[in-house]
Amino acid sequence: MSRRRTAEPYLWLLFSGGGVVAALLLPVLVLLFGVLMPLGVLDWPSTTHLTALLDPLPVRLALVAVIVLCLFHAAHRIRHTSEELLGVARFDLFIALLCYGGAIAGGTLAVLLLF
């Protein structure tokens, strides 16, 4: 076990931040937009209302942050869990690239979408 630089602390911070954000925000959003509105329990808000909600710059910036963090959270966990479940730790580099790459791609997409 020699001394080695590791990216883990940074990845872990993103993972933890994402975990908190996901915990605090996702259940209510999925509940509203994914379940209650499509099932007709609640009415869809008008497009103008939704567009107005998304209009302020801070909201867009925050949304990008939320998306990036949550994706990193997911990427980090998927990477570790797949390695533990499938015993494929020897392909770590490849798996890591795939997972975090996906998260970065998602983030880029979010920026393109919102700006």
Binding site: M1, R3, R4, T6, E8, P9, Y10, W12, S16, A89
Partner: protein, 284 residues
Amino acid sequence: MTEPDAVSGVDGAAKQAGRGANEEGEGTIRRVTEAKHHEVRQTTTRTITLEVTRYRPGQDSAPVLESFDVPLMDDWAVLDGLNYIKDQLDGTLSFRWSCRMGICGSCGMNVNGEPRLTCGTFFTEFGDGPIRIEPLKGFPIIRDLVVEVDDFLDKLRHVKPWLIREGEELPLTTEHAQTPAQLEAYKQYSMCINCMLCYSACPVYVLDPDFLGPAAIALAQRYELDSRDMGDRFDMLNLDEAVWGCTFVGECTKVCPKHVDPAEAIQRYKVTAAMRSILPWSRR
């Protein structure tokens, strides 16, 4: 002074323990007879089956299970059962034990699939049995119930588990001051008996023996959090196979017989290490 009336001659404390304990109504006589006795030793010949792993290098190519019937005594621990086998049925069974009071850490085995101290795991937990006793998972098996320990000890040593000091030492007439709160800050992590149950329970360790593992990291924290320690174990803890290898399964803490809470020790060091990484000037 054998007569009960001698009791009334003594002062308050004795009265409380003696006949004069009036707040209890009928006093201590009643309290004493209420004391719990272990139930009368069983005289019946009820037995329980222990299925024990045998592995004899040179003889077995892989471990096999062997069954033994031992007396089912209410106050026997699994270890008592193993000793019964060793003493009365088969002298060739090998396992480690010593203190039989949960403090030396040598008798850890897998009991019905769970890592346990066999001296502190009682028959009563298992009804009529059978009880399956296997060596601790995750370690190479030397023989029967005996597993390899050396790698674990190397890991402990690796984290420099001693007080690191700089500068002049105090003379041997003065102790370092340490308040009860400062003691409390690391005390829990100093309770580890090195029984290795947590390693056996940790899937990360079982999959990857290079993982530094729960007890060693808890031990590092025991010194890191000690107000007298001036060392810095960042370089040996901030590694993929040290704290970052842990995915917080949390099983280590669940099986720890001494409530060391290694899972907590590790997560706390993750915070420390992450802070140190983004704020390099934030030493301890």
